[in-house]
């Protein structure tokens, strides 16, 4: 458990949460990388990151659709 409140720690937490969620979307991952990332991650971080990633995912598809569907 990190539990530290310094800027560095929190940024790392965000990055790890994002990496965890992105690899979940693909579906496979090395155990070692998973263990590294999940040390110190709280469930709420992963859930928030998951919702954010899905929102970004939806917007990215919409943007891509705008691109290809332009008359």
């Amino acid at each position: 458990m990190s539990g530290g409140m310094t800027m560095v720690d929190r940024r790392a937490g965000l990055l790890q949460a994002l990496r965890t969620v992105l690899s979940a979307l693909i579906g496979v991952r090395h155990r070692r990388m998973h263990d590294e990332d999940s040390a110190g991650l709280r469930p709420i971080q992963v859930i928030v990151a998951g919702v954010v990633v899905v929102a970004v995912f939806v917007m990215a598809i919409i943007a891509f659709v705008q691109l290809v569907a332009i008359k």
Binding site: V21, A24, S38, V51
Partner: protein
């Protein structure tokens, strides 16, 4: 709370409480998770038989072109009731039954968190089942809309439609209470030392399914309530004549409907994730990525619903969005298949009946996933929408997927429930007969759909005859094979070779540390977890 907690560890295991009601009252008043699990499973099987009889009426009528046995109106009622009963009455309660039986034993809990609510969750089901079946006999007959209950038809039908709406309400309440119970049990009653990431996969899939149910059952309840008020209280949510929009219903329904297919699929994934490692004698490949992938499958199941509505008139941008989203989310689902295959890789496998059903699941669910991908292509779906191709797709995922996984679960856990081994030879017969007849029944439906045969129609053009006859032949074979299943289960309950506490060499988990049959009360004192007894 429960008397069981007061008695403590010194109390002899067994159902010999003097204050315990006997006979029928035992079942009506029970708060025991094993009793309730048993009732769920028998209810599910009864509904499976009722829904199955309806399917055979449908298939009998479709054996030949023209109308032979039933009126078109009655045919539509059979289509509707078959769908509603199988989804809400057979498959969903079956997996809630497994959850009731197994989750407390898997996590080392004495019972479900809300034992009395558990009783109520179950006892809501029979009235709903009765409402649905009785609606056939009221004036105007049962709902004839299909299980999707689309307006305007659902606004026009007779009292049978109201009965279906109330049945859906009741079933929804039962599901919501059941899932609150499961989620709370998993989050609060785990034995000390069983962290979430050491929890058996079946519990994980049910935890996520529980959240999905809590999220979408109220949406369905809202949709059918709006139909009810449109029918009787002068509103016009879905009636164009009053300024409403029938397409709105489809959006609401499928916002429930697509997550619903994962509500059905995820616990099935959970079962297979126990059976395959047990009979490959290897731990599940990629446990943690499986957990995360299942969570993300659940989350993104909310953003693809309109792939069921490609032909109702969406802007091209909408069609493209839902097509891309649907295709992309098939990736994590496909990877699950990879996980199970990798689990078997170089395992020392044996092929007892649970494993056979799990492998049947693996092969046929994959076919269903592929046809889903085909359908998710808008341009293709414009041709295939509402044809027998769709019928084939969802029977591959729901019957060969969820139902086969439920069979695997029954054979896998039956020794724990009854204390007897089932008859392996008959179990294998059940598997092979089911597998072959299932494919005879449903594979030709792909061809029928590609050739343009519409679904939900009692008559068809002559050129579809041959494949329909093959399909009907297979359907009756599949139906009859299930009587063999009933016989095997009854035979196991009545006797048979004594089952060991852990009848499967490769099985892991707390449930196998208990004697077979599992005593009426288990884990009144939380078990002490050794390193090895973490997850399956």
């Amino acid at each position: 709370m429960e008397a069981t907690h007061v008695h403590g560890a010194g109390h002899a295991h067994g159902d010999d409480h003097s204050h315990h009601p006997k006979g029928i009252m035992r079942w009506i008043t029970t708060t025991n998770h094993k009793d309730i699990g048993t009732m769920y499973l028998w209810f599910s099987f009864a509904m499976f038989m009722v829904g199955g009889a309806m399917a055979l009426i449908i298939r009998a009528e479709l054996f030949q072109p023209g109308l032979q046995y039933v009126e078109p109106e009655f045919f539509n009622q059979m289509i509707t009731l078959h769908g509603l009963i199988m989804v809400f009455g057979a498959i969903m309660p079956a997996f809630v039954g497994f959850a009731n039986w197994m989750i407390p034993m898997m996590i080392g809990a004495p019972d479900m968190a809300f034992a009395r609510m558990n009783n109520w969750s179950f006892w809501l089901l029979p009235p709903a089942g009765i409402l649905l079946t009785a609606s056939m006999f009221v004036p105007g007959g049962a709902a004839g809309t299909g299980w999707t209950l689309y307006p305007p038809l659902s606004i026009q039908m007779g009292i049978g439609m109201d009965m279906a709406i109330f049945a859906v309400h009741i079933l929804g309440m039962s599901s919501i209470m059941g899932s609150i119970n499961i989620v709370t049990t998993i989050l609060n009653l785990r034995a000390p030392g069983m962290t979430l990431m050491r929890m058996p996969m079946f519990c994980w899939t049910w935890l996520i399914t529980g959240y999905l149910l809590i999220a979408v059952m109220p949406v369905l309840a809202g949709a059918v309530t709006m139909i009810l008020t449109d029918r009787h209280f002068g509103t016009s949510f879905f009636s164009a004549a009053g300024g409403g929009d029938p397409v709105l219903f489809q959006h609401i329904f499928w916002f429930f409907g697509h997550p619903e297919v994962y509500i059905i699929a995820l616990p099935a994934f959970g079962v297979v994730s126990h059976v395959i490692p047990a009979f490959a004698r290897k731990p599940l490949f990629g446990y943690t990525s499986m957990v995360y992938a299942i969570a993300s499958i659940a989350l993104i199941s909310f953003i693809v619903w309109a792939h069921h509505m490609y032909v109702v008139g969406m802007p091209v941008a909408g069609q493209l969005y839902f097509m891309y989203a649907t295709i992309l989310i098939a990736v994590p689902t496909g990877v699950k298949v990879f996980n199970w295959v990798a689990t078997m890789w170089r395992g020392s496998m044996t092929f007892e009946t649970p494993m056979l059903f799990a492998l049947g699941f693996l092969f046929l669910f994959t076919i269903g996933g592929f046809t889903g991908l085909v359908l998710s292509n808008t341009a293709v779906d414009v041709q295939l929408q509402d044809t027998y191709y769709v019928v084939a797709h969802f029977h591959y995922v729901m019957v060969a997927g969820a139902l086969f996984s439920a069979f695997a679960a029954v054979y896998y856990w039956l020794p724990k429930w009854t204390g007897h081994m089932y008859d392996e030879t008959l179990g294998k017969w059940h598997f092979w007969l089911s597998l072959i007849s299932f494919n005879i029944a449903f594979f030709p439906q792909h061809f029928l759909g590609l050739a343009g045969m519409p679904r939900r129609i009692p008559d068809y053009a002559l050129q579809f005859t041959d494949f329909n006859q093959v399909s009907t032949f297979g359907a009756f074979g599949f139906g009859l094979s299930q009587l063999l299943f009933l016989y095997v289960v009854l035979k196991t309950i009545r006797g048979g070779e004594k089952a060991a506490a852990k009848p499967w060499e490769g099985a892991t988990g707390l449930e196998w540390t208990l004697p077979s049959p599992a005593p009426y009360h288990t884990f009144e004192e939380p078990p002490v977890l050794s390193e090895a007894k973490g997850h399956a």
